[in-house]
């Protein structure tokens, strides 16, 4: 109210908020992360362009972990939530490869958010897994913006995508803990593409550049990828205590 003359003008109040616009998503992501840590599940957010080879990498990973590539059976259990705009194709491929998997159909949404992942966990046996892969929607822009509660971000970048891809999509690559340079079996057909040039582009957008050249088709480099995965911490905390301390929440 105007104090001077009593004319009845409303008052303009300036409220300082200084908060993240996506604070709600971040809270849900923190909640997912708490779930994963209390169960000792390593959650990997796998991102990359459409066709970068995300699903193929997971198929090959499953074959290796299950001892089907001449390697010993590891006993490690992996599962995947596959973000897909309209189909269940990726989840179907993953299931055929022996990966417990489920689609998160996003409709027109170009990315997964933490609430979609949380809903995806319902009716999904994620607690029995050692690794939960969250295969994000094929897109090098939008998925980078949303925390899902993952432990690590892995970005698949195919050698056919061009050496300067990291410079064009710095937001995505800055957030990557590891870049899988995929489809290296195609390098003989791509005389102008050099891994060193891709690596130098990565160093200009990733403060701690980490990359592994792999081929899901031939299995080249896959051992180092598996080794990288096995170094991720997967120690279950006391479930009851951890969850109660984090928040009050009920699952249907």
């Amino acid at each position: 109210m105007c104090d001077t003359c009593g004319c009845g003008d409303p008052e303009i109040v300036s409220v300082d908020v200084h908060d993240k616009i996506l604070a709600g998503n971040d809270r849900t992501a923190g909640h997912n992360r708490e779930h994963f840590r209390e169960r000792g599940v390593a959650a990997v957010n796998l991102m990359g362009s459409p066709g970068a080879g995300k699903t193929a990498v997971l198929e090959a990973t499953a074959r290796i972990l299950a001892g089907r590539e001449g390697r010993p059976h590891t006993g490690l259990r992996i599962g995947a939530l596959a973000g897909d705009l309209a189909t269940d194709n990726d989840a179907d491929r993953l299931r055929a490869a022996g990966i417990v998997s489920k689609s998160i159909t996003t409709g027109s949404a170009c990315h997964l958010d933490a609430a979609m992942v949380h809903r995806g966990l319902h009716d999904f046996p994620w607690r029995e897994l050692d690794y939960l892969f969250i295969e994000n929607v094929g897109n090098l822009v939008c998925p980078a913006v949303y925390d899902l509660g993952q432990d690590v971000n892995v970005v698949a970048l195919a050698v056919t995508e061009g050496e300067d891809k990291p410079l064009k999509y710095p937001v995505m690559f800055r957030k990557a803990d590891l870049v899988l340079i995929t489809k290296i079996d195609l390098l003989p057909a791509l005389p102008d593409i050099r891994i060193e040039t891709i690596a130098s582009a990565l160093a200009r957008v990733m403060p701690k550049p980490a990359y592994l050249p792999v081929s899901a088709r031939t299995g080249a480099g896959m051992d180092r990828w598996i080794e990288w995965l096995t170094r991720l911490p997967r120690v279950a905390r006391d479930p009851a205590a951890a969850h109660a301390a984090a928040h009050h929440h009920h699952h249907a």
Partner: protein, 113 residues
């Protein structure tokens, strides 16, 4: 086009703040968007124009401050230039982002009767 979902979150947040204070209208929103946040300012403005109709922000101007990306050495504080490896040439340690990844709601100017 995740800018639409950013605007939805923004409008929900502003609506909650306005209700909590019994505001009848919102006059202006001030947000800060970093160069490396993954949000396109032009698309954000367009999404806001589309979605503000019939919300408490219908008549509110959106003021967007663009924040440039800035990298520095966490040890010596030296700024790291663009276009080079993100590593301090002197200390050899990875650079840290000191600004430019924010997606922030700074301020709401609202009308309280």
């Amino acid at each position: 086009m995740h800018e639409y979902s950013i605007v939805e979150s923004l409008l929900a947040r502003v609506d909650a703040e306005a209700r909590a204070r019994g505001a009848t209208a919102v006059h202006r929103l001030s947000v800060r968007i970093g160069e490396l946040s993954g949000v396109e300012i032009g698309l954000l403005a367009t999404a806001y124009e589309t979605f503000r109709a019939r919300t408490i922000c219908e008549g509110a101007e959106l003021s967007i401050e663009a924040v440039p990306a800035a990298w520095a050495c966490p040890d010596c504080g030296e700024a790291i230039a663009r276009g080079v490896a993100l590593r301090c040439p002197r200390c050899g340690v990875p650079a840290t982002l000191t600004g430019g990844d924010e997606i922030l709601l700074d301020r709401i100017e609202m009308e309280v009767p």
